[in-house]
């Protein structure tokens, strides 16, 4: 008993210490965002904001045009997520429940695309996007990244666990394939679809490479693209930048808090990599 209590104490001490270490950067950025322009750079720094102010946030939205980038990001992430869930569910269902000519080859092809990250194809992709007249359009960052091998794989695995008898008996009853998919399979697949939706939203919201390649006009910048640009400027406006960084994390945080269980239990998370 004694040893167990001691090892318990040790565990808690280690966990709390590490948690504090992990939270510190977030904590510090959020605190700093409420400090006035000069206080943010005082040395030695103040811990809590001396004078709590929302100026940084106000400036970011009024002067920095941050609202625009925020809107662009939201639009792109939501539309791309909807598209992702629809087409990946369709493909996942086909691979799980139909034997068709070339299904194995096609499935391997789908999964193999995981091995070709955007980073090694950026030059030809840039030209293909141009060819499709998608350069400098939202379509260019909504449509191409919507097909994800991970999503197809996730949905396929899920549909594999759905008994075939369900489909067979619906067929005997005379239901068409389309009808079976829409009115029987889609409702069953909701849990897997929502997991994919969560991750897809996070991927698209945080994505930097696609917007970097596709978007040219500052008006069409997403949050990540805008912030990357601001942080690279010669004289960085840290006050706005820190405030914008904090705001940019909020949508993902909301999604996380809504679906915390799915995220943290590690049920489906293993290998959820774009």
């Amino acid at each position: 008993m004694n040893m167990k209590t001691r090892s318990n104490w040790l565990t808690y001490t280690v966990v709390i210490f590490l948690a504090a270490l992990f939270l510190f950067p977030i904590f510090w950025i959020v605190l700093s965002s409420f400090k006035s322009g000069s206080e943010m750079f005082r040395f030695p720094p103040t811990f809590l904001p001396e004078k709590f102010t929302l100026d940084n946030y106000r400036n970011a939205f009024q002067k920095g045009n941050f609202g625009r980038y925020f809107f662009n990001s939201a639009l792109v992430s939501v539309l791309s997520t909807i598209l992702t869930v629809i087409i990946n569910t369709m493909a996942g269902y086909a691979f799980a429940k139909y034997k068709f000519k070339g299904s194995n080859v096609l499935f391997i092809f789908f999964i193999a695309t995981l091995m070709l990250p955007l980073e090694v194809l950026m030059i030809p992709i840039f030209h293909v996007v141009k060819f499709f007249k998608m350069y400098n359009t939202f379509a260019g960052i909504i449509i191409p990244p919507a097909a994800t091998p991970t999503g197809v794989f996730l949905l396929r695995q899920y549909f594999l666990s759905v008994p075939n008898e369900l489909i067979e008996s619906a067929r005997v009853d005379g239901a068409s394939e389309t009808r079976i998919f829409f009115s029987i399979m889609l409702p069953i697949a909701k849990p897997a679809m929502s997991v994919l939706a969560i991750f897809s939203f996070m991927w698209r919201w945080n994505d930097f490479m696609w917007p970097l390649l596709v978007i040219r006009d500052v008006d069409k910048y997403t949050v990540q693209l805008a912030l990357a640009n601001f942080s690279g400027q010669f004289s960085v406006d840290w006050n706005s930048l820190i405030a914008m960084s904090v705001v940019s994390v909020i949508p993902v945080l909301i999604v996380f808090l809504l679906f915390q269980k799915q995220f943290v239990q590690g049920m489906v998370t293993s290998g959820m990599k774009e």
Binding site: I123, A147, T178, V264
Partner: protein
């Protein structure tokens, strides 16, 4: 199945076509934006091309040039250093945390969430945050050092320390994700194994090395592959944090290729050849790891 086919001709036709319709949108996007670009990339790499005028076929010239491009191989070497130093931490720390997080502790869910948080933050924001904290004159880290009586460090203006900050930021940003991956692996190990080992008088440490590690091999392998590829293509984080600097001391291979293609001289053909080299190297590493780990199977 067979019966239905015989009875209804329409159903069988529908059944044949329907799966193709289902995969069509995905297939089109994969083909248009991954397969075709991969082929184009291979073709571009054999041309001298600025992206504007017609490409000029030059055979293997770009590859010969790449072979002699000292700056490219330097950035390649830097990337390797970054990957090889980061990997043990990015595999070890999440494993350690995951082992703590499957114990019967209070507020387990909250702690898991806290550790997971940073991995939901985009690389750009991670870069900005670390740049802010590691600032030379007013950064909080230098202040904390001064409290401990240590001298200021010019973190991001020296090559070695800049690399250190990049690695630290990477570890911070990825730990939560891999922790969750490990947790799902650990949960699949039956508790009875540990109970049996305890009855036989094995210590928890023995249990970890004799039970946990061997049975966790598939997960460890997954983490290895995912983190390796993720690290090797690092770009956004470095861009926001150091911009590849100071000088070129944190300029990694993807940034080098991006700049060759899209900044300055816009050497699309040459940059395509560099991309191909990167692709081959990454694929080779992945395959080697597959072989060495036998695909992560448990022996």
């Amino acid at each position: 199945m067979k019966k239905i086919k015989k009875k209804k001709g329409i159903t069988s036709l529908e059944m044949k076509l329907f799966p193709y319709l289902l995969i069509l949108p995905n297939l089109f996007i994969f083909a248009a934006f991954i397969a075709v670009p991969a082929l184009f990339g291979a073709y571009f790499s054999l041309n001298k091309w600025s992206g504007m005028s017609a490409p000029v076929f030059v055979g293997l010239d770009n590859y010969v040039r790449a072979f002699h491009d000292v700056k490219f191989w330097q950035s390649f070497g830097r990337t390797l250093v970054y990957v090889l130093i980061s990997l043990p931490f990015i595999m070890g720390i999440p494993l350690f945390l995951a082992n703590l997080m499957i114990k019967e502790i209070r507020a387990k869910g909250m702690f898991r969430a806290l550790f997971y948080w940073p991995s939901m933050i985009s690389y750009i924001i991670v870069g900005i945050s670390f740049k802010f904290m590691f600032g030379d004159n007013t950064g909080i880290i230098n202040y904390l050092l001064s409290l401990m009586g240590k001298a200021k460090v010019e973190w991001l203006t020296q090559g070695t320390t800049a690399m250190f900050v990049v690695i630290l930021a990477t570890i911070w940003a990825r730990t939560g994700f891999y922790m969750v991956t490990y947790i799902s692996g650990l949960q699949s190990i039956p508790l009875s194994y540990y109970e049996a080992a305890e009855v036989d008088g094995a210590s928890p440490i023995q249990g970890f090395f004799k039970i946990t590690l061997p049975l966790l091999k598939p997960t460890t392998f997954l983490v290895l592959i995912l983190s390796f590829i993720d690290l090797f293509k690092a770009y956004g984080l470095v861009l926001a944090l150091t911009k590849g600097g100071p000088g070129t001391s944190t300029k990694f291979v993807v940034q080098y290729i991006y700049e060759a293609a899209f900044d300055g001289k816009r050497e699309m053909g040459y940059a395509s050849a560099l991309s191909m080299i990167l692709l081959v190297v990454m694929a080779t590493f992945t395959l080697l790891q597959f072989k060495a780990n036998k695909g992560g199977e448990i022996e």
